[in-house]
C-alpha cells in the first residue's frame, strides 16, 4: 500500500472512531459556509456544547483544524495531497469541520505568508485551537468601494499606535476577540502607501461595537468605533505602510469564498416546488407559462455558471493560469442569486408579504427575508459595478 493510501486508511479509521455523532451532518443538512450555521467559530465566548468542544480539541491536537499549516504553529503539517485525502474522508463520512472562521481562512494564511516569526508563534496556535476568533476591519462609512481612501488614524506614540476612527460592515465584531484592521498610519504618504495592517484585541480600551440591522432583519454586521485605542507597533503585519498590499492579498480570496457559497448544488429546484404550490399546475406543468419560462431561464443560468466554474477549476488543475474568473463568478453568482429570490418572491404572491407571525408560514417568511438579504449580495465583497470595472480593465484592456 502506498504512503498516501495508508494515510487514507488510518485517517478514515481515526475519524470514524473519534468524531461524535452530533458532529456529523444529518441527512438533508448542508453546510452553509456563508452563515456558518451549525458550525464552530471558536473564540473566548464560544460557549461550545460538549461534543463540539471535544471534536475541536481532538482535531486541534492533531493539528487538523489547519491541516496544511506547519506543526510548529499548531497545524497538521500535511502535504496538499494528504490534506485532500483528509477532506475527502471527512466528506465521505459527512463530518463537520471542527472549526471555521476568518482566523483559519484569512488572517492565518496572511500571517503565514507575511507575518514575522514572533507573530506566527503568537497568533497561529490560538487560532488552531479555536481559542481566538477574528474579525475584519476594512470598510468605513466614507470608504466602501474606494477602500484605499480609508481615514481611521493610527498615530505613533512611543512603541504604540493610537487608533481613532470607525469601521463598518465588520461581520461578527460583537463576537470576535481580535480584529485585523486597515489604518492610515502615515497621512503624508500617498493614498495607498500610507496604510498599515494592524492587529488588536477587541477588549482593548476604546473599542466599542454596535450591530447593524438590515432591511432583512438581524445580521452579523457591526459598526466598530475606535476611540484612542492603544495598540503596540509590533502588531503591524508586513511592515508599516504596507497595509494595502496585505489587504489586496485577502480581497481576492474573499471574493471567491462568496461566490463558491452561492454555487453549492441544490438537490431540488426550489423555484419549481414553489411554483407548483403557489402558481398552480396543469397536467404536471406550471400553469403560468411566463413563470415557467423564467424558472427555466434561471435554471439554465445556473447550469451555465456551474459549467464555467467546473471548466475553470479543471483548467487550473491542468496548470493553466486562471484569468480574472473570480470576478466573473462573484458578479454572476450574486446577480443570479438575486434573480432567483426575486422570482421566488413573485411566485409566492401575497404570501410573500409577511414580516413575522400570524398568517405566514416559516418557509414563506424565509423566502421574503432571503430576498431582502440577497439585494446586498451584489454590494458586499466588491460591488457588481466594481467587478465589471475589473473585467473591463484587466480582461478587455479598455482604457481609463
Amino acid at each position: 500500500m502506498s504512503d498516501i493510501e495508508a494515510f487514507r486508511a488510518d485517517t478514515r479509521a481515526w475519524l470514524e472512531a473519534s468524531c461524535p455523532a452530533s458532529m456529523r451532518w444529518a441527512k438533508g443538512e448542508a453546510g452553509n459556509a456563508m452563515s456558518g450555521e451549525g458550525l464552530t467559530w471558536g473564540g473566548r465566548n464560544a460557549g461550545l456544547g460538549a461534543d463540539a468542544k471535544r471534536w475541536l480539541d481532538v482535531m486541534a491536537e492533531r493539528g487538523w483544524t489547519a491541516p496544511t499549516w506547519a506543526a510548529e504553529y499548531g497545524g497538521g503539517g500535511l502535504s496538499k495531497d494528504e490534506a485532500k485525502v483528509l477532506a475527502q474522508e471527512m466528506n465521505r463520512l459527512r463530518i463537520k469541520p471542527p472549526l471555521i472562521g476568518f482566523g483559519l481562512t484569512m488572517i492565518g494564511p496572511l500571517l503565514l505568508e507575511h507575518g514575522s516569526e514572533e507573530q506566527k508563534k503568537r497568533y497561529l496556535p490560538e487560532i488552531c485551537r479555536g481559542e481566538v476568533r477574528w474579525c475584519q476591519g476594512y470598510s468605513e462609512p466614507g470608504s466602501g468601494s474606494d477602500l484605499a481612501s480609508l481615514q481611521t488614524k493610527a498615530v505613533r506614540d512611543g512603541d504604540d499606535f493610537v487608533l481613532n476612527g470607525q469601521k463598518v460592515w465588520t461581520s461578527y465584531a460583537d463576537q470576535a476577540d481580535w480584529m485585523f484592521c486597515l489604518v492610515r498610519s502615515d497621512p503624508d504618504a500617498s493614498k495607498h502607501t500610507g496604510i498599515s495592517f494592524i492587529l488588536f484585541d477587541m477588549e482593548t480600551s476604546g473599542v466599542s461595537v454596535r450591530p447593524i440591522k438590515l432591511i432583512s432583519g438581524a445580521s452579523p454586521f457591526c459598526e466598530t468605533f475606535l476611540e484612542d485605542v492603544r495598540v503596540p507597533r509590533n502588531q503591524v503585519v508586513g511592515g508599516e505602510g504596507n497595509g494595502w498590499t496585505m489587504a489586496k492579498a485577502l480581497l481576492g480570496h474573499e471574493r471567491s469564498m462568496i461566490s463558491e457559497a452561492f454555487s453549492e448544488r441544490r438537490e431540488r429546484n426550489p423555484m419549481v416546488t414553489l411554483a407548483r404550490k403557489y402558481v398552480g399546475e396543469h397536467d404536471g406543468r406550471v400553469m403560468d407559462p411566463v413563470v415557467r419560462d423564467e424558472i427555466a431561464s434561471l435554471t439554465m443560468n445556473k447550469v451555465a455558471l456551474d459549467l464555467t466554474i467546473a471548466r475553470t477549476k479543471e483548467a487550473m488543475k491542468l496548470g493553466q493560469t486562471p484569468g480574472p474568473e473570480v470576478s466573473i463568478f462573484k458578479y454572476y453568482a450574486t446577480e443570479l442569486n438575486k434573480d432567483r429570490y426575486s422570482l421566488m418572491l413573485s411566485i409566492l404572491g401575497p404570501q410573500a408579504l409577511g414580516w413575522d407571525g400570524e398568517g405566514f408560514g416559516d418557509d414563506e417568511l424565509e423566502v421574503t427575508r432571503s430576498w431582502l438579504r440577497s439585494r446586498g449580495n451584489s454590494i458586499e465583497g466588491g460591488t457588481s459595478e466594481i467587478q465589471l470595472n475589473i473585467i473591463a480593465k484587466r480582461v478587455l484592456g479598455l482604457p481609463d
Binding site: P289, A296, L307, N389, L396
Partner: protein, 380 residues
C-alpha cells in the same frame, strides 16, 4: 470527459482558425452576395476542407469518416462561424449526413456517407415547411405508397443549401394528420427527378436556403430512410445534433462580433478620448464578456453530452441553444449600437454578424422555445 479541450482538440481548433482566417475572410460573404454566386460558397474550398477531414469528423470510420465527436466538430464550426464561412458543413454534415447516419440501413450508409466524408456529395435536409415554426412534426407533404414506389407531393421551405445539394433528404407523411407525431417518413431524393423544383431563397442573414416543391415525384422503395412513419423522433435527434453545431457556429460569430466591437471601443475617439473609456460602455462590454464565457460553457457541455450520450442530453441541447440565442442577440445588438452610425451601414461587417445572430436564433428553436422544452424535460 473534459470541458477543457485536449491538446489534439486545441491543435484542430488552431489549424481551423488559421485556415478560415486565410481562406475565408468575412469579405467573401459580401462578394458572394453581391456577385450573386449561384452556389453561395466555394466548391474549391469545400474540397480543401475535405482534405483536412472536416466533413468526416462526425462520420464513423467504417463509413470513411474520422469517427470523432461533437467537441471536435465544434472546434471547426466555431472557427467557421467566426468569419461566417458559408461552406455547407451544417447543412450537409450536421443535418443531411446525421439523418442518414441515424435512420439509414447499411446499404444507404455505405452508399452515401463515404461520399459526404470525402466532400464529393452534398446533402440537404428538407424537413421544414412554411408555418411549422419549430416543430418537425408539422408536415403537410405527403408520400403515397404505390406498388414498389412512393409518390411525393408538397412544399418544403428554408432547406439549407438545398439549391446546391446532390441529394435531398425529405420528410413527408405516409400516414396521419398534419401534426401527428407518428406517420412521417424520410426519403432520399435526387433533385433531378421529374417533379422536383428547387428555388433559391433570399435570406436576411445570408445563410443559403431554398424551397423544394414536389409534384408527383416518384421514388423507389429503397429511397425510404428508416422505418415508414417513424421519422419524427429521428428528426428530433438530428435537429438536436444540428442545433449543437449551430451553437458552435454562433459562438464563433458572437466572439468575432464582440472582439470587433471592443477594438472599436479602443480606437474610436470622440470628445478627445477613446469611447472605451466611458464607464457605461465598459460595463456593457464586461457584461457581454461574461455572457460569452457562459455561452462557451453550455456549448461545450452540450457537445460533451452528445459525445457521452448523456441521459439529460436534450436538456443540455436546449440550455445551449437558449443561452446561445440570447447571447448572440445581445452581442449583435450591442455590436451595432456601439459602432454608432457606421454600425448601421451595409458597408461595415458588424451588420452581417448581427443579422446572422438573430437568424441563427430563429433556427431550430429560439430561447423561448427551448426554455419551454427544457421545462417540459425537467418535469415542470
Amino acid at each position: 470527459m473534459s470541458l477543457v479541450l485536449s491538446e489534439d482538440q486545441k491543435l484542430l481548433k488552431q489549424s481551423a482558425a488559421d485556415f478560415v482566417k486565410k481562406e475565408s475572410p468575412v469579405s467573401r460573404i459580401r462578394e458572394l452576395r453581391d456577385g450573386e454566386d449561384p452556389d453561395g460558397f466555394s466548391r474549391a474550398l469545400w474540397a480543401k476542407m475535405a482534405e483536412l477531414g472536416w466533413q468526416g469528423i462526425l462520420i464513423p470510420e467504417q463509413y470513411g469518416g474520422l469517427g470523432m465527436g461533437y467537441l471536435e466538430v465544434a472546434c471547426v464550426l466555431e472557427e467557421c462561424g467566426r468569419n461566417l464561412a458559408p461552406e455547407p458543413m451544417l447543412s450537409s454534415v450536421l443535418l443531411g449526413a446525421n439523418a442518414v447516419l441515424l435512420a439509414g440501413n447499411e446499404d444507404q450508409k455505405n452508399a452515401l456517407l463515404p461520399r459526404v466524408a470525402d466532400g464529393s456529395l452534398l446533402l440537404a435536409l428538407a424537413y421544414h415547411e412554411r408555418g411549422a415554426r419549430y416543430s418537425v412534426y408539422k408536415v403537410g407533404a405527403s408520400a403515397e405508397r404505390r406498388d414498389s414506389s412512393y409518390v411525393l407531393n408538397g412544399e418544403k421551405a428554408l432547406v439549407f443549401d438545398g439549391h446546391a445539394a446532390d441529394r435531398l433528404v425529405v420528410s413527408a407523411r405516409t400516414s396521419g394528420d398534419e401534426t401527428d407525431h407518428a406517420g412521417i417518413s424520410l426519403f432520399v431524393v435526387d433533385p433531378g427527378t421529374p417533379g422536383v423544383e428547387v428555388t433559391r431563397q433570399q435570406t436576411m442573414h445570408l445563410r443559403s436556403a431554398a424551397t423544394v416543391r414536389l409534384s408527383d415525384v416518384e421514388v423507389g422503395a429503397d429511397a425510404l430512410l428508416g422505418e415508414e412513419g417513424g421519422a419524427g423522433p429521428v428528426l428530433e435527434d438530428v435537429i438536436d445534433r444540428a442545433t449543437v453545431g449551430l451553437c458552435a457556429e454562433m459562438l464563433g460569430g458572437t466572439q468575432a462580433a464582440f472582439e470587433m466591437t471592443v477594438e472599436y471601443l479602443k480606437t474610436r475617439q470622440q470628445f478627445g478620448v477613446a469611447i472605451g473609456s466611458f464607464q457605461g460602455l465598459k460595463h456593457r462590454a464586461a457584461a457581454m464578456f461574461i455572457e460569452i464565457e457562459l455561452m462557451r460553457s453550455v456549448v461545450l457541455g452540450a457537445c460533451q453530452a452528445l459525445d457521452e450520450s448523456a441521459p439529460d442530453l436534450r436538456e443540455a441541447v436546449s440550455a445551449a441553444k437558449a443561452r446561445s440565442s440570447d447571447t448572440a442577440r445581445l452581442v449583435g445588438y450591442e455590436g451595432i449600437q456601439m459602432h454608432g452610425g457606421i454600425g448601421m451601414t451595409d458597408e461595415h461587417d458588424i451588420g452581417f454578424y448581427a443579422k446572422r445572430a438573430r437568424g441563427s436564433e430563429l433556427t431550430f428553436g429560439d430561447g423561448a422555445y427551448h426554455r419551454d422544452r427544457f421545462a417540459a424535460l425537467q418535469g415542470f
